[in-house]
């Protein structure tokens, strides 16, 4: 069981991590979510033992095997898929026979069978990522650390990637994945929100949704006057946020029912616009947490 205790990390006089503590326990998959510069990569590197914390410690790693998938493609571009996997097997102390058997299993799992002889450098983004994961789990590590594994891949590949990670987790590997896709929380038993080097919250994503105190209203098809109304509605609100998504305008608030009437008074009556209440999702929950932490901007 990995135990991160009071970990801080300073770089060029700036605190990248500030008193971070948590334990990886029975929850099989943990998502680390945070804005750019929150310290996600630094935390992963500290957990992997690639960086030594300025203070605090990471306990429980003795005898624990690790897999690490970084943001950058770390495999050999001019070697084939199969060669790369054998190479990683060797690095992790597997015999050729063990490797061969495990590689066969992983190729099947990842759907990389059809490209085993292709140069790794010639694979698409999604396939490279799958190969990176396969290489990192060849030796069935106790803990797999991933730094934004689905960044820049399309929805089909993203879903396949998470299915792959779920089966890796079922095989007994703890998964700790940094991500920028908020909806991916749905695949995880727990999320840790990191902001400016500090943990804002550590909780199951479903619980965070249940505890969310804001309500969400939407004006469908607000069209090309959305910004004008956005600015006006913002003045009406003492809590929450107004934002546009395509032609729809969203109002996140924690005010009384009177807000609906006040918003309707702003909207022109002749355009057939309606105000509808919808369920907030992970995006609203997390974005609001981060904005609250930024302070000031969200009222």
């Amino acid at each position: 069981m990995l135990n991160v205790k009071g970990v801080s990390y300073a770089y060029r006089g700036k605190k990248a991590l500030d008193q971070v503590s948590f334990t990886l326990g029975e929850k099989k998959i943990t998502a680390l979510i945070g804005p750019d510069g929150a310290g996600k990569t630094t935390l992963l590197k500290v957990m992997a033992g690639l960086l030594r914390p300025s203070s605090g410690e990471v306990n429980g790693k003795d005898g624990m095997s690790l897999g690490y998938v970084s943001q950058f493609f770390g495999l050999y571009g001019e070697m084939s898929v199969q060669e790369n996997l054998h190479f990683y097997g060797r690095l992790n102390g597997l015999t050729f026979r063990e490797s061969t058997q495990r590689i066969e299993e992983l190729l099947h799992w990842t759907g990389l069978e059809s490209v085993i002889h292709r140069e790794a450098g010639a694979l698409s983004g999604g396939m490279k990522q799958k190969l990176s994961i396969a290489a990192a789990v060849l030796h069935r590590p106790d803990l797999l650390l991933l730094d934004e594994p689905t960044n820049g891949v399309d929805p089909v590949s993203r879903r396949e990637m998470w299915r792959l990670l779920q089966s890796v987790a079922e095989g007994g590997t703890q998964i700790f994945a940094a991500t920028q896709y908020l909806d991916e929380a749905a695949y995880c038993g727990r999320v840790i929100l990191l902001h400016q080097g500090r943990i804002l919250v550590e909780e199951s994503p479903q619980q965070l949704l249940r505890d969310f105190p804001f309500r969400l209203l939407v004006i469908r098809e607000a069209g090309h006057e959305r910004v004008k109304w956005m600015d006006r509605i913002r003045k009406e609100l003492t809590t929450g946020e107004v934002f546009s998504k395509g032609r729809d305008l969203y109002i996140l608030h924690r005010e009384g029912m009177s807000i609906q009437g006040r918003i309707k008074a702003i909207l022109p009556s002749d355009k057939g616009l309606s105000l509808e209440e919808v369920e907030p999702g992970y995006e609203e929950v997390f974005t609001q947490r981060f904005q609250d932490a930024d302070g000031g901007e969200s009222r």
């Binding site: 510069g37 399309d154 959305r226 934002f243």
Partner: protein
């Protein structure tokens, strides 16, 4: 602003773009959606005046995409996925470089100052671009693409690598520009970006497979007419079947 009819582009035997029609009105944010290798970049390059089509007709800002490529290039703004900034130059030097490229001489100082203010770049003005994190790079790139106040902006995955708070703020800027009349074409394979467009055109293997307003498409492709698709992810998966056509 953009009118394309049966635009086709081949590279040898490979048809990268196959008889694509596209129409984008002024003030619209149009999303060109597809997996890697779907033909988005090839199509964009033809619209920007960087590549000649093999077949079909097209006009961008009223200019012919075959014969008036230079005029198109001067009038559009383009922000690439890789941001095309010079890592060894500072933020301000990059802006000056792009201003020179777009031929801005009159009111240069004022324009640079106003972009630095509008994009809150004051604190990194003298920083080398190569040392800035992703969110900042995106802001510098966007400020550069808009130095000459172009009526038409091409943005290639503008927010694919940035965090949700920054993404939301960036899109608010796009909505402001669009509502004031700027036409914006966004290419992306990130459905969260696609959801934010007014209209989308979805491509697969060089062809257009769906086209329309986001809300409309979610209804049209729903299994049951009363419950529209919750996300565009589902539409993408339905229409492209398999997303990642391992390069191409």
């Amino acid at each position: 602003m953009i009118q394309l009819q049966s635009i086709t582009k081949k590279f040898g035997d490979y048809t990268a773009v196959d008889q694509v029609n596209l129409s984008v009105e002024q003030g619209e944010i149009c999303g060109l959606i597809g997996a890697n290798g779907a033909g988005k970049t090839t199509l964009i390059r033809m619209m920007c005046g960087l590549l000649l089509p093999d077949g079909g007709e097209g006009r961008v800002l009223g200019f012919d995409i075959r014969h008036q490529q230079k005029a198109i290039r001067q009038q559009i703004g383009y922000m690439s996925q890789k941001f095309s900034l010079y890592p060894d130059l500072t933020v301000e030097e990059n802006l000056r470089f792009y201003a020179a490229l777009y031929g801005i001489h009159q009111g240069l100082e004022k324009r640079i100052a106003s972009q630095i203010e509008a994009f809150r770049l004051e604190e990194v003005r003298q920083e080398r671009v190569g040392r800035l994190p992703g969110g900042w790079l995106q802001r510098v790139a966007f400020a550069s693409a808009q130095l000459h106040s172009p009526p038409l902006l091409f943005l290639d995955e503008p927010t694919s690598g940035v965090d949700p708070v920054t993404r939301r703020a960036f899109w608010e800027q796009l909505y402001r520009l669009a509502d004031e009349g700027t036409t914006i074409l966004v290419t992306t394979h990130v459905m969260d970006e696609a959801e934010r467009c007014d209209h989308i055109t979805m491509m697969n293997q060089g062809e257009v497979v769906a086209e329309g307003a986001v809300n409309q498409l979610k209804k049209e492709f729903a299994r049951d007419e009363h419950t529209p698709l919750a996300t565009l992810d589902e539409l993408f998966i339905q229409l492209t079947g398999k997303g990642d056509h391992d390069g191409g």
